[in-house]
Subunit: 710 residues, 2 copies
């Protein structure tokens, strides 16, 4: 049985234990061991707890055991708060006692350096030996709000309320801030896990657990280190496609300095943030910039349905915020709904003359609940409306709580999402509480409301996208020859491939390298030229000549048999005159590449995500505008198209500025082949095709230059 299957079996004991041993408990208030026992007790846990303490006979009035093995009855879960130096002994005892699940709170492992890393390896080995699954070490603990268990196995100050958001965090201390913030916003959680150094149970195991958890609708993830990016991507794709549950993630350590700070406190190493961004997008993970944005988005997913389309009706009692919301919504790519004639007729009949009955609807400062109710109700009925945004400012006559309650009531009888922005703080607090408690997502800023809705809308649109791998016949790839080219070079301890080997290798994957031939006579040159077709290029081949142009050793754009013969002899003559000592190996004959768009393709290796494919338009676009995009291999056709469209310059391939339509199909093909190559040949450290010349539609493309690093 794989370790992840073992975890799957043991998760019930982690989250729904019937009995818990707290190992290392004490009676000193304000210490972690004491706080944890107290947390469990005051959260009204539905089970038995066994404090284990070498010194105390009882903890908080409960009989204490000296060793875990002394406990008479079976125990489901152990919470370990002993110093890291003795955790190995504890784990051994858990094994002997037959306890299969543990939460190791104790710090002093990988994050403190080599001694700690050694300890971490030790406990992991013992856990593997006994089939134990553990969370941590170096974590805050686990919370399960399910009333069946009411478990607060953590030293968080408080137990959150029940909800449908699952939260997973690599940082323990951040959790305390998150719990405090969430409580103030009436945000509930299904499961709340601080997983610390993830020495045994990883974020991927936990993601799968939450995917299966019927209490969890939205999954949040705070990460500093992605140990196995590929696995995380696969897991996310799998969960999203099978369950439709969104995964929202914060990945800290975006900058080099931030990554260094992360390394020093969790011993982790961050990869390139650009690649992480691309990988998340590819996997469907919604990346959030900060904690507030994460919760703003989370409540939208948790509380309201996914909209069918993006036509929004705005209702406000204040013109200014109506304008701000309209600005935000348009900026986010949403649309202002256009009301039907029926709706417009009703608004114009019922609303006061000073009201603005067009979207955004301004019900005017003196609006009471009746106007709000009418406009919200009629908006929801209108087929041209997919969602409703309600804005309220606290004017002296505004019936804040009544309006909140009526929005809640209206929302219960419809399937379109309703979002609110009750602006302000104290005056609107009671109204907001009514909204939040009844699953209406409320935002202080209309801008945050619009942004959150947009995330949900985009997620819904992406759910139906086609993630199939590009359907090309891989059997045509000559993988064996490619491998032998690489082994040969590696045996010769080369750090890169020569030009001809590079071309040979790319040919193995049917990539459009230019066939070339070194002719020893004008006749040979003619016969090869006729074989590959005109126009062609002739170039001197000599180890003694570095700058071929300087000796007039190149003739471009040769169109006919006669020109080949003439070109051949003129090159020989020029070289003999200008570089009489040079040893001539022959004349290279190659197809002349027509003019086209220069693009750059490449392969990089990321520590965490593995083979990464790079794309960008050549020249200034990559270097000045950094207009490049990345995708983790293997690439689906959707990936390929989106990575091209993600660059601003992509317009230039599709006829912008009166340019010709380029042969993007052949570009798709090359990117897909590059993806196959990257996966088949891990010996290649880096590959650059710079440039690939992309011709007009149906005319293909050619590799003008390429480099392969080993």
């Amino acid at each position: 049985m794989s370790k992840s299957d073992i975890h799957k079996n043991n998760f019930k004991s982690v989250f729904y234990p019937k009995s818990i041993a707290i190992i290392g408990a004490n009676n000193v208030e304000g210490t972690v061991p004491y706080d944890i026992v107290k947390s469990i007790l005051i959260s009204n846990y539905k089970g038995i707890i066994y404090p284990v303490s070498p010194k105390e006979t009882s903890i908080l009035n409960i009989k204490a055991y000296k060793y875990v093995i002394d406990i008479e009855l079976p125990v489901d879960l152990a919470i370990v708060v002993f110093p890291s130096s003795v955790c190995n002994l504890v784990l051994e005892q858990l094994g002997q006692k037959g306890i299969k699940a543990a939460i190791i709170i104790s710090a002093g492992f990988k994050e403190v350096g080599s001694v700690g890393l050694e300890r971490e390896k030790q406990i992991k080995e013992i856990a593997d030996k006994y089939g134990i699954s553990f969370i941590g070490p170096n974590c805050l603990g686990v919370i399960n709000t399910d009333p069946k268990v009411n478990l607060n196995a953590s030293f968080a100050r408080k137990m959150p309320s029940e909800g449908n958001i699952g939260f997973l965090s690599q940082s323990g201390a951040l959790c305390t801030a998150v719990l405090d913030y969430a409580q103030s916003k009436n945000i509930g959680f299904s499961k709340f896990v601080s997983f610390g150094n993830k020495a045994d149970i990883s974020e991927i195991d936990l993601l799968y657990y939450l995917a299966d958890d019927p209490k969890t609708k939205v999954i949040l993830l705070y990460l500093e280190e992605i140990s196995d990016g590929k696995a995380l991507m696969d897991c996310a794709k799998d969960i999203i496609s099978k369950t439709g549950k969104p995964i929202l993630a914060i990945k800290a350590g975006r900058t080099n300095e931030g990554a260094a700070a992360a390394a020093s406190h969790t011993g982790s190493l961050a990869g390139s943030d650009e690649i992480c961004n691309a990988a998340f997008e590819q996997a469907g993970i919604i990346r959030c910039n900060d904690i507030l944005e994460m919760f703003d988005t989370a409540i939208a997913f948790a509380y309201q349905p996914i909209p069918k389309n993006n036509r929004v009706s705005i209702i406000t009692n204040a013109g200014g915020p109506g304008v701000l919301t309209t600005d935000a919504l348009i900026k986010d790519g949403l649309k202002l709904a256009k009301f039907s004639e029926e709706t417009t007729a009703i608004f114009s009949k019922v609303l006061p003359k000073t009201a603005n009955i067009k979207n955004p609807v301004d019900v005017i400062g003196d609006a009471k609940a009746d106007r709000y109710n009418l406009v919200v109700t009629e908006s929801l009925k209108d087929d041209n409306v997919d969602a409703v945004f309600v804005i309220l400012t606290p004017q002296s006559m505004t019936e804040i709580e009544i309006i909140a309650q009526e929005i809640v009531d209206v929302s219960k009888n419809n399937s379109k999402p309703i979002y609110t922005s009750f602006m302000g703080a104290t005056d609107v607090a009671a109204g907001i509480r009514i909204l939040e408690k009844n699953n209406i997502p409320n935002y202080t800023l209309p801008e945050s409301m619009s942004k959150s809705f947009t995330s949900v809308f985009n997620f819904g649109q992406n759910l139906n996208r086609n993630g199939a791998v590009y359907n090309l016949d891989k059997t045509q790839n000559n993988v064996e020859m490619a491998k032998s080219i690489l082994s040969e070079a590696l045996e010769e301890k080369k750090s890169y491939l020569t030009e001809d080997k590079t071309n040979q290798l790319l040919s193995c994957y049917n990539l459009p390298v230019l066939e070339s031939f070194v002719a020893s006579s004008a006749e040979e040159a003619v016969s090869f030229a006729e074989k590959i077709g005109f126009p062609i290029v002739l170039k001197i081949v000599s180890d003694d000549i570095v700058h071929k142009f300087d000796v007039n050793g190149i003739v471009l754009d040769i169109q006919s048999r006669e020109e080949v013969i003439q070109g051949y002899s003129s090159i020989i003559e020029n070289v003999m005159q200008l570089a009489p000592e040079a040893k001539i190996k022959g004349i290279l004959v190659r197809k002349m590449i027509p003019k086209g768009e220069e693009v750059i393709l490449g392969i990089k290796r990321d520590n965490s995500f593995g083979p990464v494919i790079m794309y960008g338009l050549g020249g200034v676009f990559v270097e000045v505008f950094r207009d490049v995009s990345f995708r983790v291999a293997p690439l689906s056709l959707h990936d390929i198209k989106s990575m091209i469209l993600n660059t601003k310059s992509s317009k230039l391939l599709f006829g912008a500025r009166g340019k010709n339509l380029r042969d993007v199909e052949s570009l798709y093909y090359c990117l897909s082949k590059l993806s196959e190559l990257a996966i088949d040949l891990p010996q290649i450290k880096e590959l650059d095709i710079n440039p690939l010349i992309l011709l007009d539609i149906n005319k293909g493309c050619y590799i003008a230059d390429a480099k392969i690093m080993l």
Copy 2:
């Protein structure tokens, strides 16, 4: 005396009235007139109020007058809450009574269409006649927290506390949300003004008033319509340079849809948002994206000194948030301070071994107040530190309030800014209150803390920038001739200038147009070519020939006398052969432009800001990347440099990608001349120089093509 001088005299009566008449007061709770009287009473106003009501004999126990002229003693300020239809009569009475200041709360003016606009004009006329200054109409009122007066002349639900932030808003309803939000954050105000339709007193008058107000340190402005952008810019520049007070602004109506919404509720018309952005930057106005960002930035300015430099020390009790803060700070362009050896020695001696003593300093989850105190104090002492960010997460043992108080105490003895991010909500609330009440700006998000600090830092750096107009000799401009070219064209009802007139006009401003000459003989061509110098171009001139290349009517890159003669005759021959019917006017001789970078310059007219200069790199940069920048004329040298540097492609002028250094000095010159031209010649509606060929350093530039629209 100008109206703005009259306002200046009358402002004392608006903000510090000794007596107030409330005209249109009533006894109906929950109505605006009643709420205003009550607001004034409960705010403990230090003066006399006179309710004026045609019906009531007393309002809230105070004797009411039938007409304002019935009041026996002089009155400083009138608050008008009568229906808009009778406001003209009220204004007349104010004039008769000698009241010089009014706040017109009543709606029903410009914002409701043509009838309202007429009413607005009427009251403005009466005010002008009597020298009355008024705020509004269609506004929430005015608040002055100065204890000398304690004035809440508004129908806001509450009076804010005293502070050093002045707030000006075009939207009244937004004010209610702002006041509510500000109260919850313990943010105080000096003056708070809802100026509505600004029919008389404008935002500019109010900005100058706050600039002179010793109680105001930071000025906030919410705008939907900028009636006179140029005046706003001049006012802002003036205030910032003379007083150093920052102006933070939100300009709503950024999108077309948002602007349309704004128009429908204030009758205002928004200009281009891109140009507004440029104008604000140029004027030093800090543009905020939303209300929260505005207050985040405002408290930074209001509470803490401007930092000398951008080296920040981060202190945290949680690794994760330390990483997030580091990421944010680097992204914002700030620097992580490197501690001196002394500081490092102290940290390594005093902090626990598990702590991270490098910046960001992690004092570890169990840190109490002593560790925070030490690290903050020592950071502030370190010469390598310019500012301190303190992060706190509420862990079970964290002494939140004590730490807050100690930060406050430490801050009192130093001149470097301290910012905090006490993360969470309820648990940290009491600590945050201590910080806020003692002028330590606190942020839920470390990202907002970093962003706000960055705004203050950048403002400080810009305070010293040189805004002088580029020092060129304007007397060389032949303005008279330029004007006569334009009058001539306008008389002929032309909508654009012909090529030769365009060149003539640009020459009047010494812009580098290419001199050209139509030769009737090869000799003439030679003599002109020798005058302007080789290489030159020859082109056929004939009204019958549209495509000169098609008839081989162009010869490029002519290097010598002989080539001129040869080129001349070959063109004549070609044309006679290929277009035998064409009437030949002669052959144009012009300098051949060497290769260089193509840039685009232009003039546009903005409804609100007037003449605007545009700059961008030619080709794809403008069209695909929209890599252009704008500045409002006249341009200072700083404006010119910053508008070029604001484009990403500007690197290409300064040697990026192995390109030559271009002659940017000549580009500065052209932009400056264009700015002069734009101001001198308002008849020009639009001007496009596309492209200007910018040569290598010291080689100048040439206009290859230009169009002038009238």
